[in-house]
Symmetry: C2
Subunit: 471 residues, 2 copies
């Protein structure tokens, strides 16, 4: 029988059973105790090492549960057959893996359509609500929440959507999720596969990519100046049409009522047809009243309405919502009911209070003024430039499109501006991959201004001027 000379050190701070376990494990791993070798009985080893039998038993139990040793009834313990296989490689011997940590942006000024202004955010209110939420040592904050989202947030969103967007729904129809892409993943599973989804081009590419990843067949709709054409929809025969009627991204078009109604009529003609209404930034319209939602005109339960707090509060908040028409509630429950909510309960309650206590509405009103100011300034600055042919997509959102008087390609301008530390976007960048060459018309830049101050706007425009009007 194997004799184990285990050097125990009762002053080492490491429990004795662990010292025994480690010694045997290492010796099995490196082959010094070979496969099939019989180990001493716990009684024998305990007396040999002058420790209690339970100490040895604990060590053996751990070795057993990890499979280093095996026990045979009435016979004892044997080393398992693992030595030849034992792997103990070191991590990345060739150095760190190739994927670098996200780099700091190399740009001085970024005309991003996705960046917001946070200078006016009511941190005090947010902090107070957060503090009050946690003050009570309320353990219900930590128990698993409802899959579709916390009821109080769904109610608050429901009320908000009714008043602000004319969306006609009940809290039961609302699903809260961690961002639009996650909700599209759910939605694709709710709608089932295989299905054909028609989407405008150019568009919000993340929606296109998400649905493509979910194995949906993606059909591309070209546009006239008012947006999609019904004849294209009828020709392509999709099951689902994804639209942004209130403010198409990136074109800024508002879908005319006539086309809305044609779309609604198309949807109702055949069971299984649905319209996805992505209402991403309709909070920010600077002239006239908000454009009502398509969902509000839908009497036949064919519109899936999607919205987000990414623009109205912040993308880091990670809260979006969708309103399912009644016929999809059962499919949601059946196909996706098992997914736990993706938004922390604390975050949901915080947001519900932020809405219910009126902070959200006041902040929106404030930000509408702030962004309108930025919009008006940026529009007037752009219109002064002789290289700007036309500006469109105006009076809403956080970006403008500038059609240029130039023979240069938009992508070349983007590159040249980048070299000078300014990030602008070519309209082509929002075309579905492989279709960029189909974009017609003058070279066009997309210029977001939401996060920029006057100085940066002017400096950025000066850089573009330098490129477009070299002396």
């Amino acid at each position: 029988m194997l004799e184990l000379l285990i050097p125990l050190d009762s002053d080492s701070g490491k429990p004795l059973y662990e010292q025994i376990y480690d010694y045997i494990r290492i010796h099995i791993a490196d082959g010094k105790i070979s496969c099939g070798e019989k180990l001493p009985s716990t009684r024998f080893l305990a007396s040999h090492l002058q420790v209690s039998r339970s100490t040895v038993e604990l060590a053996y139990e751990q070795l057993l549960s990890e499979g280093y040793i095996e026990s045979e009834p009435c016979r004892g313990y044997y080393a398992s057959d693992i030595s030849e296989l034992y792997l103990s490689g070191t991590k990345f011997p060739s150095g760190r893996p190739f994927l670098p940590q996200k780099q700091k942006t190399p740009y001085r000024i970024v005309f991003s359509p996705d960046e917001n202004e946070f200078a006016y955010f009511p941190f005090g209110a947010w902090r107070k609500i957060s503090k009050d939420l946690l003050a009570a040592d309320d353990t219900t904050l930590f128990t698993a929440g409802e899959a579709a989202g916390e009821w109080e947030l769904r109610e608050a969103v429901c009320r908000y959507l009714y008043h602000a967007r004319g969306v006609n729904c009940l809290p039961e129809q609302i699903v809260i999720g961690a961002g639009n892409e996650y909700l599209l993943i759910l939605l694709s599973q709710i709608l089932g596969s295989p299905k054909k989804v028609a989407i405008e081009n150019p568009t919000y590419l993340k929606a296109y990519q998400t649905l493509l990843h979910m194995n949906d067949t993606m059909l591309l709709l070209s546009r006239d100046k008012s947006g999609i054409r019904m004849e294209d929809v009828r020709r392509l025969k999709p099951d689902i049409v994804y639209v942004m009627p209130s403010h198409q991204f990136p074109m800024g078009t508002v879908m005319p009522m006539k086309r809305r109604l044609e779309l609604l009529r198309w949807a109702v003609e055949k069971p299984g047809r649905y319209l996805i209404e992505d209402d991403h930034d309709s909070e920010f319209r600077y002239r006239g009243k908000p454009i009502p939602s398509l969902q509000g005109n839908d009497a036949n339960e064919t519109v899936i309405y999607m919205g987000t707090f990414s623009k109205s509060i912040s993308p880091a908040v990670r809260v979006s919502y969708m309103v399912l028409p009644e016929p999809l509630l059962f499919a949601y429950q059946a196909n996706c009911g098992f997914y736990a909510s993706t938004v922390p309960k604390e975050q949901q309650r915080l947001l519900a209070s932020f809405l219910n206590q009126g902070y959200f509405e006041r902040y929106l009103n404030k930000m509408r003024r702030v962004y309108k100011g930025k919009h008006d300034l940026f529009l007037s600055l752009l219109r002064q430039e002789p290289w700007v042919h036309m500006v469109y997509g105006d009076y809403a959102g956080m970006h403008l499109l500038a059609e240029l008087n130039t023979q240069m390609r938009a992508e070349w301008i983007v590159k040249e501006a980048g070299k000078r530390g300014v990030r602008v976007y070519a309209l082509e960048e929002y075309m579905v991959p492989g279709t960029r060459d189909f974009l017609e018309g003058k070279p066009t830049l997309l210029l977001g201004y939401g996060a920029l101050c006057e100085k940066d706007m002017k400096e950025g425009i000066a850089v573009l001027r330098e490129i477009l009007m070299p002396h």
Copy 2:
């Protein structure tokens, strides 16, 4: 030309342009202004109504952008053709939709394996960190974060995993996400399709369902008392094997070292093979040392390690993580790099501080003692019962399996206990749908104790006794 007698009320609080807009919109919608009818010019209407021309222009602009009217250059404004289509249905004429709000559980005592004890959570520390985070009016909390998760949280998780679980990785390899299911959705997209995934049965059914929804082909591995058998893996020829080596759910098995090494060897034999290691609750082991992770023994970058804060902190926190082996980092970037993180930045920073300031480790140590106390008590209570044949899955996690001395079917017992207000779970409930009949052995109940006090445990056991030993 149409004459519009618009009754304006300058005291109504409603802007004049909106009153004009509403009047025209409603009359177009209900057909009182018919399609093609010419509207008065803005100049004429302004003078007619005694309002400024810009007021009328704003109303017309809104009507134009919503498509109620059309403008023809040099000719004027015309009502659009929408009246016949105008839909104004009321919501759910037949009453509320059928999907009820989540009901309160009808049970008095729930032996859930997913519920935790929160009585010892350091709310004070959580609150303080949260307060400090928000105190600075720090707008970077609100800007879009890194797709894979905040760097400081990935570093903190990386350190924790190395020390607590022997996981060998760099923060670059860690992806933070809103729960295991979301990470599995990402992972399925990273690994690409079509692929075959082998999973144990019974298992964590949400993982099975999620991968099935992602169109993966699911293969089922039956088990012997140590878990999966390599001959089954070789026979079924999967691309991916999903395992829980440290503590299989629901069986509680620890995978022996020999099988781990066989699995690792299988994975390295052919490119594209991967092992998913779901390490869901290995923090809670009450005897001996923690079982090391499979990932720690993998020198060939074949293990995808997944873990969660759902058990160690709370399911409502919605934070899980996965460690991608180096060969998958590029695929992650290429296929899923466009998905924004699903966890609020505030939550990520809070959690990073909770880990970095030592609270998490102290809380884990505390909870390990708390759950060990509950475990020992519950185990001893169960072992006293004559209807309990054997208890297994012990010394870890938050549930036990009780094999019963009875001819009754486990599902019947579950139903009877339910009638008496006690929710217990049949082992069958964790079998993949359609395979329940293949479960061998004595009727077995799964009994979670994480959230229960002594009184509830005793009361629940008494109810089972009443059912199993009727006098």
